[in-house]
């Protein structure tokens, strides 16, 4: 791109996102087939999702409930009566020749999602590897309006290049329930788009309605992008970007598109309304179809389905069963446990992690100690093996869908709390505690068992420590002389020697105290 910096800053980016979240209903939108990912082609199909003659759809009530959950969490209006519509087009992966979606009367309209606004979006250098989400600074968020959220069914998949020159169709995914979540064009940068997506992904995972897996396509994003002169209120011609299946690609795809559009406008051209496909390999987007070639989908209300009724009482029931949402949980962690907003953000990164933290506190762990240990030690080990704290098995909100080989954390909140107690009681040092923790993580053993088995009990006995200290002093005449001549820095050397000879088991406080006294005393 040849655009100069002043040119670029004279444009404003306008983005609206359409997210397709695959709902964790277990069964498909309009039939009883399983909706699991990765099964052998065409093994999760029936006459209904195959679009055979004469069959009829029946609405999956759980999908409606999930959609209402999201609508309530996003402060949307839930329609007392909404309709399914047919979107008509021909494609081999679309068995009926139409997709059942919603058009005129969607289930959820209006509402919003608060995201960290641009100025506050910065990835903390600290623990960059372990924390994927931006930190929020309290009071500095931006409200992104929701246009609508509606239910629809997914299509199947066409499989090409299978070595026999033929194309194949896998209809396992056909009929899988999707919630399409459409934002207003309120986003003004790729960073805001990513922040919105992350917040939305976190929300759907918290709500237990979607596993948020972008790689497997259960959380997909299309972006509508346009540019306009800074200060203008007009919406210019937009381009739809499809197939962006990671946060990184969202950012890159939007940035590429903004540069491309600036280039077109600066070069005296006009933006054409079109759909473009982002190619992450090459980092560019290519035009799929222009508006001239756009489908006329001939939407009309699906006569096979009666309007979805969502009576007040049902909505109230769903509202009452909503889990505590990330924003509320973060605020509560700060006020209730006195931890920093940053720590609260990390610890509410998933429902399971937050539950783990609170379980430790219930067992008596000091909140700040628990926060520090979980964030530094536990997450480091989990990330090292690509594992995560699994959701409670009995929890309806479990994010463990059985799709991934998610290793269970072997250190229970109770055992972690017991470890803190050993440090607090002086049985082991904080340093030894890390060794003990690693062993607990590996084997799932209780901390006192690890300490006993490895003989890691802290040495606090004065006589024993004095004996070691005196030996160290006797063995280091040169260092002793320098220390006594004013080289205070060498104190650390003596501490190190003592710790080395006690294999780290010496009580550091006691060592300091005794060492100081012995070093300043005249030589025996």
């Amino acid at each position: 791109m040849t655009t100069t910096i002043p040119t670029r800053t004279s444009y404003e980016t306008v983005i609206g996102l359409e997210v397709h979240a695959q709902l964790l209903t277990g069964s498909k939108m309009f039939c009883g087939c399983a909706a699991a990912f990765g099964a052998e082609p065409n093994t999760q199909v029936c006459p209904i999702c195959l679009g055979m003659p004469g069959v009829l759809p029946v609405v999956n009530k759980r999908a409606v409930e999930f959609a209402i959950r999201l609508g309530l969490a996003m402060h949307a209006r839930i329609a007392a009566s909404s309709r399914f519509a047919r979107k008509n087009y021909f494609y081999p992966d679309l068995p009926k020749g139409y997709q059942i979606s919603q058009y005129e009367l969607p289930l959820c309209e209006g509402g919003w999602l608060d995201i960290a606004c641009e100025a506050t979006i910065e990835h903390h250098a600290r623990r960059e590897a372990t924390i994927e989400r931006p930190a929020r600074v309290e009071g500095q968020s931006k409200r992104i309006k929701l246009t609508r959220a509606h239910l629809e069914e997914d299509a199947g998949k066409n499989l090409h290049d299978m070595g026999n020159g033929a194309s194949h169709v896998d209809l396992n995914r056909a009929g899988t329930p999707l919630l399409e979540i459409v934002s207003e064009p309120d986003l003004r940068s790729s960073d805001e788009a990513v922040a919105y997506l992350k917040a939305l992904r976190e929300l759907v995972v918290y709500l237990g309605i979607c596993d948020g897996n972008m790689e497997e396509g259960s959380f997909r994003c299309d972006a509508n992008v346009s540019i306009r002169p800074r200060g203008s209120e007009r919406f210019e011609t937009r381009v739809e970007l499809k197939n962006i299946n990671s946060f990184r690609y969202v950012k890159r795809a939007i940035e590429y598109e903004v540069e491309r559009q600036i280039g077109v406008v600066e070069g005296g051209g006009r933006i054409v309304q079109e759909t473009r496909l982002f190619d992450p390999q090459r980092g560019v987007s290519v035009a799929m179809r222009s508006k001239e070639a756009a489908h006329d989908y001939r939407y009309f209300p699906d006569p096979d389905l009666v309007p979805i009724a969502a009576p007040e009482a049902w909505i109230a029931e769903i509202r009452a069963a909503l889990p505590e949402l990330p924003e509320a949980k973060r605020a509560r962690f700060v006020s209730e446990y006195g931890i920093s907003p940053y720590d609260a953000t990390v610890l509410t990164g998933s429902q399971a992690l937050a539950d783990y933290f609170e379980a430790a506190i219930r067992h008596g762990a000091p909140p700040k100690t628990a926060a520090n240990w979980i964030m530094s030690e536990l997450l480091a080990l989990l990330n090292a093996e690509g594992a995560e704290i699994a959701g409670r098995e009995d929890s309806a909100r479990s994010i463990d869908t059985g799709r991934r080989e998610s290793a269970l954390c072997r250190v229970t909140p109770k055992a972690l709390t017991a470890l803190f107690a050993l440090v607090e009681a002086g049985t082991i040092s904080g340093k030894i505690a890390k060794t003990v923790f690693e062993e607990m993580y590996k084997t799932g053993a209780e901390p006192d068992a690890v300490v006993a088995a490895k003989g890691l009990v802290q040495v606090s006995d004065v006589d024993a420590l004095v004996a070691v200290i005196d030996q160290v002093i006797a063995d280091s005449p040169k260092e002793l002389a320098q220390y006594r001549s004013g080289k205070d820095k060498l104190f650390g050397f003596f501490v190190g020697q003592v710790m080395k000879r006690t294999e780290g088991k010496a009580n550091p406080g006691k060592v300091n105290e005794l060492l100081k006294a012995r070093l300043s005393a005249p030589t025996a």
């Binding site: 055979m52 004469g54 008509n88 081999p92 068995p95 009926k96 020749g97 169709v169 001939r298 009309f300």
Partner: protein, 492 residues
Amino acid sequence: MTTDLWKLTIHEAHALLKTRSISARELLDGVETRVAAVEGEIHAYLTFCHEDARAQADAADRRLRSGEGVTPVTGIPIALKDNLCTTGVTTTCASKILEGFVPPYDATVVERLRGQGAVFVGKTNMDEFAMGSSTENSAFGGTKNPWDRARIPGGSSGGSAAAVAADECVAALGSDTGGSIRQPAACCGIVGLKPTYGRVSRYGLVAFASSLDQIGPLTKDVTDCAWMLNAIAGHDASDSTSADVPYPDFAAGLGRGVRGLRVGVPKEYFIPGMDRSVEEAVRAAIAALEREGAVPVEVSLPHTEYAVAVYYLLATAEASSNLARYDGIRYGHRAKAPADLFDLYARSRAEGFGPEVKRRIMLGTYALSSGYYDAYYAKAQRVRTLIAEDFRRAFEQVDVIATPTAPTPAFRFGEKTQDPLQMYLSDIFTISVNLAGVPALSMPCGFSPEGLPIGLQFIGKTFDEETVLRAAFAYEQTANWRTMKPDLNPPI
């Protein structure tokens, strides 16, 4: 044993089966003997189920012997319109695009009849995808009217109606989107009922126009009609549009008479240009009911004149979408050696669908297209509401409405094939009923000078098939039309 068991009605056959005076197998053999004698003349069927039918008859006989699980349709040979899905039996909708298609599932009505021990004789001919009023649109040849083989049997359930009229089955099921049960019943001189929309599950009925389609019986008399409705009605969780309402024993109140029953006579249904014999026969039937104590009341259904236009927008719009699944990809006809995907679609559908089906797909696609939707589809929906409102208002004054079923008796083959609009007008008296969703029945009420049956239509309130059947039964008792049989001179 008597050789004319094929003449029996369901209730007559049931009485003999229950007392074991005849066996289900004998009854089936009787019907099949009749089929062998007259089917060459009529061509009511597309597929026969000899083997399965025999097994079903034998199973019915076991039930009858044990006395367990015996229902009014146990052992009764029934014909099914070929748009009702039948496990393991070809279901074509009389279309080349579904030639050889064998569903792995039963329509709910088929499953219910099967569960009650019915015997399926075969699948009957029809207008392709139920689009037509003469059965001439079948891809596999027309069906002849048993009363005059130069004439059409009506349509689209022409095969079912002809099979019942020619005694090639004891009763049949058809489907009615704009008159497709009632008009052929009228043409063939039998009883046909379109139940209230939602009364009978549509699951497994190959859709033509989903908001209008309804399955119903074609029978030799009104009692059989009530019995068949009993056998197939009721809520079905597989069809969201099937109504979860109580369903009574439709046969229980048949004989209650019509004393004081207010019978509406809509002035819009007696139009200039309609066949005189039809008008006379219908007026005579109303007079007969009056003699039985009914009170005729003139009513108005002011939006009747728009019904055909509304119907041909809504039904075709829905059809254009419903028939999109026949794309040559998963089942049905696929064009040979396609150049690309578009060519595969275009040629599979061009080769598979007949001209009337194509005409309606194009009409419907046009009506739904962006820029035309509001002017056509949306407006038609609003007029549909007005038509339903007409009936609601009329039923504040009357209990049932009586009209002719069709403006003329059965016409000759080819008479209207060149003029689709004339063909569409055959349904002028039946279409409003589907748009309003109300139940209606056609039954014979006389003969034209040429000896062709004339149909009388009773229209009822939503979910009030009972009153429709009661009026029909009362009229049936005043006349002997049901004893009249076409002269087929079978060589037996």
